[in-house]
Symmetry: C2
Subunit: 138 residues, 2 copies
């Protein structure tokens, strides 16, 4: 994905184009896996912690990233491809977390629609845990 495309992503989500945002977005796209705040802090030590937090928040609020539920105590984020805009979020795909390397990946498979009598269901989130191909090979 080239510079102008990254820029379009920001513009399309009504976000101003700044160095921080471009660098963070590029990092997400290149890494192609879910990233935590710590990943960003390690990579971008020259940006202020607060700015990185705010970048994650504005990206999440505007549909560039989605927050991935996890019981580890700190948030991880993944890129929203195509489906999300400012007012319409859809993340009904699965996430996989590797027990060995800790990496979280978005799995391109939809979560089966589920209905439970008496409940009104808006969103479904699914996290699979196990061992990823990389760690299995090693």
């Amino acid at each position: 994905m080239k510079y102008s495309d990254l820029k379009s992503v920001l513009k399309n989500h009504k976000l101003r184009v700044t160095d921080t945002r471009m660098d963070v977005l590029e990092f997400f796209v290149k890494q192609n896996k879910a990233l935590s705040f710590k990943d960003l802090e390690d990579r971008f030590s020259d940006y202020d912690r607060v700015t990185l937090y705010r970048t994650l928040n504005s990206f999440t609020e505007n549909g560039v990233l989605h927050k991935i539920p996890d019981d580890s105590g700190f948030a991880t984020y993944g890129v929203c491809y195509d489906t999300c805009s400012h007012d319409h979020h859809r993340h009904d795909h699965m996430h996989f977390k590797c027990k060995q390397c800790g990496e979280i990946k978005c799995i391109d498979e939809h979560i089966p629609i589920i209905s439970i009598p008496g409940f009104e269901i808006h969103e479904a989130n699914m996290i699979l845990t196990g061992v990823c191909p990389n760690c299995l090979a090693a």
Copy 2:
């Protein structure tokens, strides 16, 4: 569930029987929903915060409770019925979180077994979000 049964639960999970543990376990069972640390703190203001945290941790490590993934920033826990022991955890049931009242409930429905080529999957976790029957009625 009577006192002696609660005691058995602790014994079966190789945990010493103490006041804190009995009270916390009883509270979980009676509430019949997922609870956060804050819920415990509000209820048991006479116990030390640290003790409550340690109770949650030992319960989780020994299969009395399971930690429910959630993107809200603080952990919630649910009772493990029957399926879990010290060395074998199985929590492939669903959780429902109500957007309105915030309550998290364990849904007694199993998650369909999923396999993804190249991945070894040990556990599946699913969180549904929406509005619960109580809030729909109100």
